[in-house]
Amino acid sequence: MLLLALGATGGALMSALQPQIRQYATERVFAARAVHSLSGSRAYDADVVAEIVFTVEAGLSFFHTHGEGMGLILLFASTLVASLAWPPKLRAGLHWLLGFSALFPVGYLAYSALVLLCGRDRGIALAERVLLIPSGSSAILALAGLAGVAGLLLVNGRVRRGRARPLPIPAATRVAPPEHCWRRPPRIVVLTAALLIALAELGGAAMGRFKPEIDAFTSARVRERPELHGLVGSLDVDAEILEEIRVKADGGLRLFHLHGEGVGLMIFAGALVVATCVSASWLRRALYAGLTVGGFLFPFGYVMWSALTPFHGVEAARRIAALSVLVPSGALFLLALWVLLFPLGRALLTRRRATVEEMPAGPVPEAMLSMRRPVMVLVAAALVLLVLAEAAGGVMTQAKVDLDRWRRAQVEAWPIVHGLSGVRPIDGPVIDTVLSRADFALRLFHLHGEGVALVMVAGGIIASNFISSRLVAGVVQTMLAVGGFLYPFGYLAWSLMMPVLGLRAAREVAEVFVWAPFGGAVVAAMSLTVLVLAGELLLRGDAWSGDP
């Protein structure tokens, strides 16, 4: 929860203080000319300084995204370790490894600071060697171990079903007493989280599928308002302005997709912690309200920003979205996250959690109810995906040079596919485009692998605990397991096929054979979950109950 709060706050501060951060970083670079090898020539130094400042900002941005991502991974993975890992020594070992991997996002803060202190290349190398590689490897090791445990339990379960005399069941897989389990958050909070995740997934899919139409709409609205956007009536100048606005509008939608999924997961994770660790009922309700209202509204600020940009201009749209949605809802969400740390900190200091006896004895029984884990196949698939996605993140940065060399060789081996002329300066930009797109696709595999794995775990927990019909819950979990596991591999396939088939053909193959069927399955699973949760909520009329 501390990582989630730090990551979310880091993002907010980075946005609010961007000019000051740039100014500070620039001044620090100029103050240490020798460290950054500045020449004193403006023409040369401008590019060098810009690149260093960009790297510093990238480090802060990675702290924001990895803080939130790693916070969620730690919460769900440690839950699975506590539920599945056995014997106790293995469990303790996995918990230690996971705990150490909490330093990974902090490594990106160090990355930014070390770039300023030691120079770009030395700073990056130092941050990687001291923090990022050890803590990242620790996370991969822990998740691989956990995936192994889940796999063993899965095989064990199959074997047991096929034999007359069952194998012994490890103690950890027996039903734990209620005070050792997560307690159920209210149904309305779970519905909100699932709805946000489903909308974000739909948004992401629509954004990719209808990009040309969205771009055409944006361009048409901008052309209708030449004065507002500073169009000058000259084709080349206006094309540049139009592209900038399209990039910003597209960026807003992209941020909705990212923040919708991330915040949806954070609402669910936060609600689990609130339900289990906060004893005062007024505080519990206040935290549920803060997480749900703030978290649900926040990503829509980006949709608003994107939608208003063609009508009001980039800056005005950003101001309106910030003042009306992003700042108030983001502040509420952050407040809830930070306040939640107080009871957690107190429990940690006194080494206890809110006991069953402390929970209210009134008519709200949800706090007393423990949660079931999702089906083992889903858990194992999500863990394998997490390991692969994390490993891909590591490969992407550590083996970039070798990967690029291999991709370049592939592109040059298929000159007709890429329309190469044989003149190096002409072909250079073409090859660079393929390389950068292939690198981007691999990055998307890393991002989507981690995101979808977390959605699989959270969606599985929601389906197995909040959907009354076992059949529907089973269908949802199957769709999540199959669709969620295979969907991110579309990005890996896209990345690998691009140098051979070309940009467009590789994309079309990935879209037809992977994204549409398997991504569609995930979207359908989350949409079905939302519909069933909403239906059950309406029929029961008890929004605050978590009892299925």
Binding site: S15, A50, V237, W282, Y302, A322, L323, V327, V339, F342
Partner: protein
């Protein structure tokens, strides 16, 4: 006891939030990086092809590209026969001749944008801020073309090239801007001078005259087959 302390913290946080008077800006969406436009990309392709000794590719890139289309559209305002002579130079693999003719074309595009910028500064229907902004944008567009032709122009006449380059800096300064990479945050935060449209117009007019002179001189030089005297044959 704990409940009370948590309530206090909550209250303090709410008061702190309410006290935030300056609106925080929204999220980062990444920086927009201006790219080559179709014309500069096509110019580069033609130049690289002829330099690499691939005349057939250079002619194809010229005939199919936007440079040719723009030359046809502006035929009457460009030096006579520029399009045909450029194609001939590409076929003959006359690298200096082709490069100088492409520089004439780029100088023409630069001059057009600068003329347009000057016209904007005389439009009374626009507010001063709006016409200065439009002029700055057009000067930036002109710089993109000039930058690509600068080598050939300075090789033919270094003084002309210096006049134009300094003209760009002066015009931007007189319009309240600066010729600097916006990513260079420290310098970008410096306070610009107050705009002076009269001086900006004079600078732009001067640049237009220099570029017109270059076009005439360069066309004469290229037609005489003298481009190889100051441009490398590679």
């Amino acid at each position: 006891m704990v409940g009370r302390s948590v309530k206090r913290v909550l209250l303090a946080a709410l008061v702190a939030l309410a006290g935030m008077s300056t609106p925080a800006t929204a999220h980062h969406v990444g920086a927009f990086i201006p790219k080559d436009d179709d014309i500069t990309r096509n110019v580069k392709e033609i130049k690289f092809a002829v330099q690499a000794g691939r005349p057939e590719l250079a002619v194809k890139l010229f005939d199919d590209g936007i440079v040719h289309a723009t030359m046809e559209k502006e035929e009457k305002r460009l030096p006579r026969g520029l399009e045909d002579r450029l194609r001939g130079a590409l076929r003959r693999q006359d690298v200096p001749g082709a490069e100088l003719r492409l520089a004439i074309f780029l100088a023409f595009l630069t001059r057009e944008r600068l003329l347009d910028a000057g016209t904007r500064l005389h439009r009374p229907d626009l507010t001063p801020e709006r016409r200065q902004e439009q002029a700055r944008r057009l000067i930036n567009a002109a710089w993109r073309y000039y930058n690509l032709g600068d080598f050939a122009i300075s090789a033919q006449d270094a003084r002309m090239a210096v006049d134009v380059r300094m003209g760009f800096e002066d015009a931007q300064t007189y319009l309240g801007g600066m010729m600097i990479d916006p990513m260079w945050a420290g310098a970008a935060a410096a306070k610009p001078n107050p705009p002076d449209e009269g001086k900006a117009t004079a600078v732009i007019d001067g640049m237009v005259r220099v570029l017109a002179r270059f076009m005439v001189m360069a066309a004469r030089t290229a037609d005489a087959g003298d481009a190889g005297r100051f441009l490398p044959r590679r």
